[in-house]
Structure formats: structure tokens, C-alpha cells
């Protein structure tokens, strides 16, 4: 399915920007304030002149008034490194669910690119896949779309090994967005903890579908795990179906609770929900975009 947004929606996205709870400094100048003092436009402070400082930043008006050489300091505006980690395991193979995940990723990419953030898309399953080249500027959005369209769900999910692999390479700290259904037999906790431990600001987009939330069949059924091929022969009775729904809700609540405890942003994206509502309302309510 092609990932294209109409112009009206793109305009709406341009008014948004990705919110990071912490300030990270990128390498390039951008429009995001950092803790560094540098060559931004916004005045920040004065400091005494020391040998070697750039004469251009001496505040001559202050020298005339105070008789001391003071150097004007400006806030450094840098880009924000955003890592979009997209689950491409077989559990995401349900078209509606995978499309939702890719569209969310595409929307976040566009918001980031518009604000000159450095965006990297990292598909993962059992491990990290071929990540996209980091890029800035909204002109790259079509390459992002093409990149996302080429992704195919395959293999099992292993959040822990994937994020461990992510951590294995030196990367600038930044905002890490995990877009996944979090159906990892090994659990989601370890993986998220790794990212938090690294110092990243982590945000979770929990993509779900009707097929995840409900058993989908009654009577005797052999459920086949899309990732592992494992079989579960179950006689689905109304009571058991109800138990399944409750178990799934418990799983989602557990993820949300975990995210809350570790200061990880959480937004649930149901594949059946309108996409615009998720981006424009749910992400805002989750304070992920502003």
C-alpha cells in the first residue's frame, strides 16, 4: 500500500513537532534549543572575555557602560536525533496493523524532517535490520516513503536483542520511538530498559488490531503463531474468549504501566482507528507531539 499523505494533512503535520522530554544536542544547526551555548540567534548570557574569544561576540555597549569586556553568549540550536524503531516481525504482518505502523512512522518522519531533526529509521525483528541513512529536511520525505514501502514483515520479534544491537553502536542520544505490537515471547521490559539505560528519551507506539485483541474464532481451533509456527489447539468457548480478551487487556495495561514507571511515553494506535485521529489527537494527548 503506498504511503502517501494528502497536502492538507501534510500541512497539519507541519504545525507539529516532536516533543522530547530532554534536550539533546545534535551535530547540525537546527531550530531545536540545546543546553549548549553557541551561535544561535537567541541571547542567553554574558561572560567575561578571555583571550582567544571571538571579538565579534564582545558586547561593546556593556564595555562602554561597565568598562569591562564581556562576551555575549547565545543559545545553541541544534537538531534532535530521532530514532524510529519499526517492528517488522511477522506478528505485524496483518495488513491493517503494518500499514498503521508504517503510516505512523511516516508521519513522525515528516514532522521531524520539517523541523530539520536527524531521522533514522531502524526496522527490527529478531535483530536490527537495514537502517535508513540519517537525513534532514522535508525534501527527504519521499525517500522515507519509498523506504517504508519496501519494508516487509518477516521473522520473529526479539526486542531485547534488537535494542542490544542498537546499543552496540555509538549513537548520539536522542528520541527513540518504538513502533511495535510488543508481542515478544521474551517480554518487552528488557528491551525498553536497555534504551532507557543508554539515556535515550523513549517513546512507545503500541500498534494493535482487532485480531490481536479478540480470539477471532469459536469452537475448536488450531491457532498458529505467525512468527514461530507454534500451534495451540484451543476450544474457544465464550468463557475462554472472554479470558483471552482480559489477558490481552492485561498485557496492554502492563506495557502502559511499565512505560509510566520508566518515564517512557506511551500511545496506543488501534489499526481500526482513523489514522489522523491517532496522529493529531492521540499523539498530542500523549504529549509526543505538540
Amino acid at each position: 500500500m503506498p504511503l502517501r499523505f494528502d497536502d492538507q494533512f501534510l500541512k497539519k503535520l507541519e504545525y507539529l513537532h516532536v516533543v522530547s522530554k530532554r534536550a539533546f544536542a545534535g551535530h547540525n544547526r537546527a531550530d531545536r534549543l540545546t543546553a549548549h551555548r553557541g551561535r544561535g540567534l537567541e541571547f542567553a548570557d554574558h561572560r567575561p572575555y578571555t583571550a582567544g574569544d571571538d571579538f565579534r561576540h564582545i558586547d561593546w555597549k556593556a564595555y562602554k557602560r561597565l568598562g569591562r569586556l564581556l562576551l555575549r553568549l547565545f543559545d545553541e540550536e541544534r537538531d534532535l536525533p530521532i530514532y524510529l524503531m519499526l517492528d517488522v516481525s511477522r506478528s505485524m504482518a496483518e495488513p491493517a496493523k503494518f500499514d498503521m505502523a508504517r503510516r505512523v512512522a511516516a508521519a513522525l518522519c515528516y514532522i521531524g524532517l520539517v523541523h530539520l531533526d536527524k531521522l533514522t529509521i531502524l526496522p527490527f525483528g529478531r535483530g536490527l535490520g537495514q537502517e535508513s541513512a540519517p537525513g534532514r529536511g522535508k525534501g527527504r520525505i519521499f525517500r522515507v516513503f519509498e523506504y517504508l514501502e519496501r519494508l516487509e514483515p518477516a521473522g520473529p520479534t526479539d526486542l531485547r536483542s534488537s535494542f542490544k544491537e542498537f546499543a552496540g553502536r555509538p549513537r548520539q542520544l536522542g528520541l527513540t520511538v518504538i513502533i511495535s505490537d510488543f508481542l515478544d515471547p521474551g517480554g518487552f521490559e528488557a528491551g525498553i530498559k536497555i534504551l532507557r539505560t543508554l539515556g535515550h528519551d523513549v517513546f512507545v507506539v503500541h500498534v494493535t488490531s482487532e485480531g490481536d485483541r479478540h480470539p477471532g474464532a469459536f469452537g475448536e481451533v488450531r491457532f498458529v503463531d505467525a512468527e514461530t509456527g507454534d500451534l495451540r489447539e484451543v476450544e474457544v468457548t465464550p468463557r475462554l474468549a472472554s479470558a483471552y480478551v482480559k489477558a490481552w487487556e492485561a498485557h496492554a495495561a502492563e506495557l502502559e504501566h511499565f512505560c509510566g514507571r520508566y518515564d517512557v511515553g506511551y500511545v496506543r494506535a488501534d489499526a481500526e482507528q482513523p489514522f489522523e485521529d491517532i496522529v493529531l489527537k492521540a499523539f498530542r494527548q500523549g504529549r509526543f507531539v505538540a
Binding site: 515478544d184 488450531r222 491457532f223 498458529v224 503463531d225 505467525a226 495451540r232
Partner: protein
């Protein structure tokens, strides 16, 4: 089906049901994102209810019971008890078809339904043997056959319908004979016959007599005599409705004491509809068939007589005094063989000293027809004996026994000359001492004729006391024929009380029509026709160029009294239990199987219980 085969089938059905239940069918595969949630759900130790724990066992038991019930419904095994016969024997079951078998019992079923259920039980317990079904009304109805379905169909279609008390169906080689009866009709039975009694006393009110007799009152066509019997142990009010045609002539409620016979005499005026219907209603009334009775008032309508002749004053004087006759006098020149409209057709045509060139189409009385009348002299063709000689001053010395001359005093009649006719169909019913016919009759399926061989000019006929008798007899015989075949001890055919059953008719009868205009099959044996008059009502028979109508009623106190204890019957007597007429047990088996299957599907297949 032999017993071992039936048991084998039952065991097989149970085994098959169990095997099918236990066979694990491969359930459909469903690809899901992950079995993670299912693992958690199934990993939880769920507290199962008692129902969940035993549900599978209950389902297995239900499946086996369904299979067994269906197998039982199919094979319908039965034990060889009071009833049956061995597979190598031949069984005859005779159902008493007398009307009393239609009596309702306290449980709502009729004796007949109870008898049919008992017959079904006897047949079922003898499956494998040759079986035959008979009723006392219809004789052998079905069989001998080993096909239970044929017998079942025959049981469904047979109905109680009277029958001859002496008739007894027979089956060659029958090794077991069962007679299912209420004992209301006493029969001499062979001691080997097993009698199944469906008798149960039943309170009843019935019409025990309805007849129309000639009335002595001028202006009346007759008097209807009605008798109603209350055979209930308690007194009750009986509503009586009498209708003449479509007109209600009596609607009255009568109090009837226990065992009382209520008698009513109702004068029937001349004119009006000749059919009379009586209906009664009462609270305690087990038998519906005797609640309605019919009568036919033959003299309600005057006879239409056409007199053809030139000097017929002597007949005019005779008919003027008879209110039962409406006579029309015409000249021979105005005579036509068939009147313009059927309604104008006379009941009798009288030819006085004149005869038409062709035989008359309807009943006719001829006084001294001309000797040259061709159809009276040459009717026999080549075989005809030819014209006979007239006799002068013949003496009629021996009174005749034929209805036409019955009661005619011959000794006061003086005849100067009697003519003789040679048509072979003419039968002399009164002759002179020398053998010259004085009165002829002719009877065929098309017409009836009476020929008086002397005229008033040649006799003292009009002055003789026997004249009105002879004229009345002749007109009655021609226009109101009694077409029943005479039976032994049947002195008064005209007033015979006709009951449903096999009835013998005269040979001239060509057609019998039942109530509602339905044709009744007529079987001719020699000179007699037989028809089975199945239900009470107004019947008419056609023959001899005319039509005769009569009523058929049950009207029998012995039949209406349903509280009588049946006489002790010889041989082995089996009492049929009340309530036996319910559906056969295999129907309940099939219903139980269906109900269980529905319950099983509802609770298990739809998974609403666990």
C-alpha cells in the same frame, strides 16, 4: 427383523456414535500474530465448574442415547407377548368396526383409537411374521404381508363403519387370530381367538328411532316418530333440533332422566321439503354418530299423474278424492313422449284405452291398450310367441301376491272381456281361471309398466271395491317403488328401518346415490345389487325408470347404550389399558432423539455452557 439383528443394530449404533464422538476431528487452522496471549490464558489454572468437568461425559452419553433412540425408532423391536406370533406364523388381527367403537372414553380417546393402538402393538410385537388386518365391516383390509409399513398405512385409513354382526373375516393358515372389540356386538368366536377388550363404560345420549309413518290426520303427509335415549348414569338436558329441509321446525330442550327414553311424535304437514333431520346435543354424550338421524317424507309432495285418453271421467273422479295425487288429463292428440321441461315430467302416465306408438319413457299404467299396439304385441321379435287370444267373461279367482294386486278383491270384479298381449317382458300378476292375464307388470332398469287387460266398458271396474285398491297399488308401485331386495323375515319392505352396512337392492336398481350426491358403488350378484351404505343420511336409488329415496340411520338402542357390560367372551381376553391410543413408543423415541440433539447442539455446538 429378527431379535438378534435388532440387538446387533442397537449395539452397532451405540458403538458407532461413541466412535464418532471420540474421533478427533482436525480443527481449522487460524494464523494469529502470536500465541503469546493464548499461552497466558491457557497457562492460567482455571477453576473448572462441575458442569465443565462432566460436560464431555454428558455429551458422550447424550450422543449414545440419540443413536440408540434413533435405532429403536427404526427397528421398533417388541417382545413377543400377548399379542404377537412367531416369525414363521401368520397373524390375523380383526378390528371390531361397529359404530359403538367410535365412542369417546374418559381420556379423550375413542374405543377405535384404542383398538388401533392395540392392533399396532400386536403387529409390532410380531414383526417378521406374515400379518393381515381385517375389520368386521370391510373384511380383509391388508395382507397377508410381512411389511409393517403396509399394515401401518392400512391402520391409518380404516375407520369404524358398522358392519354385519355375523360377518367374520377369515385368513387361510392363520396361526394366531386377535379380535379387538368393545364387546358391544355379541359374536360367536372360536375359543382360539384372543380377544382384546377396549370396553370402557361411556355415558351417551342417542336417537334410537326416527320413522315417518302414514298419518290419519287429513292434510298431513305423515307423523314423525322420534325416540331419544339417555344412557348416562345421571339425568341431563337434551337439546333437540328438527329441521325440514333448511327450515327448523323444532328446537327444544328436554329433561332426560337416567335410562329414560324420550318419545316425540311430530305431525308433518303436506308440502314442504321431504327431508327431515334431527340433531341432539347433551353434555354427557360419548357417541356422535347417533346424535343425528334422518327421515324421508315420501308423501310430502303429491304425485304428478298424467292421464291420456278420450273418456277419462272415471279416473278424474277417482283422483279428485286423493290429496296425494295431482292429475292432469290430456287428449291422445296432445300426448308427447317427453315433456318440454324435466320438472313437467309426470311420476306416472295412465293411458286409458289408448297407447302410444312407442313404449312410454317413464312409469305407465295402461287400461286395455288397443290390441294393435305394436310394442305390446311384437316386442319379442322372432322369439315372440305372437298375439294371444282374448277371453270373454274371464273369472279372477285367485288373489295375487304382487304389490300391484295385493288386497284387491277379485270376487267383486266382473270382467266381460280381457285382452291378451304377447310382449315377452310382460309378466302376468293376475290371471283368469283359464290362464288369461288380467293384470300384467313389466319391469326393467329403464321403466315399469302395469297393464290392466280390460277396460271400464268391459267390466264393472269403477264400481268394484277393489278398484281404488288396484289403482292405488299400481300408482304406488310405479311412482314410489321399494327397490330393496326382499330378505327373509322382511315383511314390510316399504317401512324397513335401514341401517348402515351392506344392503341388497332389487335387480332393476342401476344407481345408488349417497348423502351429498356421492355415488355408492353397486355390486351386482345375480338378480340382486349390493351396496355398502357407510354413513347415516338420505340415500336415493334409481331403477325401473324412477327414483326412490330413503333414510339410513343408526337408531339402535343396543348401540347407543354404551354403559352395558360386554358379555363374557370365550377364550383368552386381554384388557387394553386406557390411554393406549397415544403415539407409538417409537415416535416418542424419535422425538426424544430430536430433543436431545437440539439440546446438545444448543448447549455444546453453540458453546453457550462452557
Amino acid at each position: 427383523m429378527a431379535a438378534w439383528q435388532a440387538w446387533l443394530l442397537l449395539a452397532g449404533a451405540a458403538a458407532l456414535a461413541t466412535a464418532l464422538f471420540l474421533i478427533k476431528l482436525r480443527p481449522p487452522r487460524l494464523l494469529i500474530p502470536s500465541v503469546l496471549i493464548w499461552s497466558r490464558v491457557l497457562g492460567d489454572v482455571r477453576q473448572q465448574t462441575l458442569w465443565e468437568r462432566i460436560r464431555r461425559a454428558v455429551s458422550l452419553i447424550a450422543t449414545v442415547v440419540i443413536a440408540l433412540a434413533l435405532a429403536l425408532a427404526v427397528v421398533r423391536p417388541g417382545r413377543l407377548a400377548d399379542g404377537g406370533t412367531r416369525a414363521d406364523g401368520r397373524l390375523l388381527v380383526v378390528l371390531d368396526a361397529s359404530w359403538s367403537m367410535e365412542a369417546a372414553t374418559g381420556r379423550g380417546e375413542t374405543r377405535w383409537e384404542r383398538a388401533v393402538a392395540e392392533a399396532r402393538r400386536v403387529f409390532t410385537s410380531s414383526s417378521g411374521a406374515e400379518m393381515a388386518l381385517a375389520t368386521t365391516a370391510d373384511g380383509l383390509v391388508e395382507g397377508p404381508t410381512t411389511d409393517l409399513a403396509l399394515i401401518e398405512t392400512a391402520l391409518e385409513r380404516t375407520r369404524a363403519g358398522g358392519g354385519d354382526a355375523t360377518a367374520w373375516p377369515r385368513l387361510a393358515g392363520a396361526t394366531a387370530v386377535h379380535f379387538i372389540t368393545d364387546g358391544a356386538t355379541a359374536r360367536a368366536l372360536d375359543p382360539s381367538v384372543v380377544v382384546h377388550s377396549v370396553f370402557e363404560p361411556a355415558p351417551n345420549v342417542g336417537i334410537t328411532a326416527l320413522e315417518v309413518r302414514p298419518s290419519l290426520t287429513p292434510g298431513n303427509a305423515g307423523d314423525a316418530y322420534l325416540e331419544i335415549g339417555n344412557f348416562a348414569p345421571a339425568g341431563q338436558k337434551v337439546r333437540v333440533r328438527i329441521t325440514r329441509g333448511a327450515t327448523e321446525v323444532l328446537n327444544r330442550e328436554l329433561d332426560a332422566a337416567p335410562s329414560e327414553l324420550l318419545r316425540q311424535v311430530l305431525p308433518i304437514p303436506r308440502g314442504g321439503d321431504p327431508s327431515l333431520t334431527v340433531k341432539i346435543e347433551a353434555p354427557q354424550n360419548a357417541l356422535a354418530e347417533d346424535d343425528e338421524a334422518f327421515a324421508w317424507v315420501a308423501r310430502a309432495r303429491p304425485l304428478v299423474v298424467r292421464v291420456v285418453g278420450t273418456q277419462t271421467q272415471w279416473l278424474r273422479a277417482a283422483f279428485e278424492r286423493d290429496p296425494d295425487v295431482r292429475a292432469a288429463f290430456i287428449d291422445p292428440a296432445g300426448y308427447t313422449a317427453s315433456p318440454a321441461s324435466p320438472n313437467a315430467r309426470p311420476d306416472v302416465t295412465i293411458f286409458d284405452r289408448w297407447a302410444p306408438s312407442d313404449p312410454p319413457a317413464g312409469p305407465a299404467l295402461l287400461f286395455a291398450p288397443p290390441a294393435g299396439t305394436r310394442w305390446l304385441s311384437e316386442g319379442g321379435g322372432a322369439a315372440s310367441p305372437g298375439p294371444a287370444a282374448d277371453e270373454r267373461a274371464p273369472k279372477w279367482e285367485i288373489p295375487g301376491s304382487h304389490p300391484v294386486v295385493q288386497g284387491v278383491d277379485p270376487f267383486t270384479l266382473t270382467v266381460d272381456r280381457a285382452h291378451s298381449y304377447s310382449a315377452p317382458s310382460l309378466v302376468p300378476v293376475a290371471q283368469s281361471a283359464q290362464g288369461t292375464p288380467l293384470v300384467y307388470v313389466s319391469e326393467s332398469q329403464d321403466t315399469r309398466l302395469v297393464i290392466v287387460t280390460f277396460s271400464i266398458n268391459e267390466s264393472n271396474l269403477t264400481a268394484a271395491p277393489g278398484f281404488p285398491v288396484l289403482l292405488g297399488n299400481a300408482v304406488d308401485w310405479l311412482a314410489r317403488p321399494v327397490l330393496f331386495a326382499p330378505q327373509s323375515g322382511d315383511a314390510d319392505l316399504a317401512h324397513r328401518v335401514q341401517r348402515p352396512g351392506l344392503t341388497a337392492f332389487a335387480g332393476v336398481v342401476t344407481k345408488v346415490t349417497g348423502p351429498g350426491g356421492s355415488d355408492v358403488p353397486l355390486t351386482r350378484v345375480g338378480e340382486t345389487g349390493f351396496a355398502r351404505l357407510r354413513v347415516p343420511g338420505i340415500y336415493s336409488v334409481q331403477g325401473g325408470g324412477t327414483r326412490s329415496t330413503f333414510a339410513v340411520n343408526l337408531a339402535d338402542p343396543q348401540l347407543s347404550n354404551l354403559t352395558r357390560t360386554p358379555p363374557v367372551m370365550a377364550g383368552r381376553v386381554v384388557t387394553v389399558a386406557a390411554g393406549a391410543s397415544g403415539a407409538p413408543w417409537w415416535v416418542y423415541c424419535a422425538l426424544a432423539a430430536f430433543a436431545l440433539a437440539v439440546a446438545e447442539w444448543w448447549t455444546w455446538q453453540r458453546r453457550i455452557t462452557v
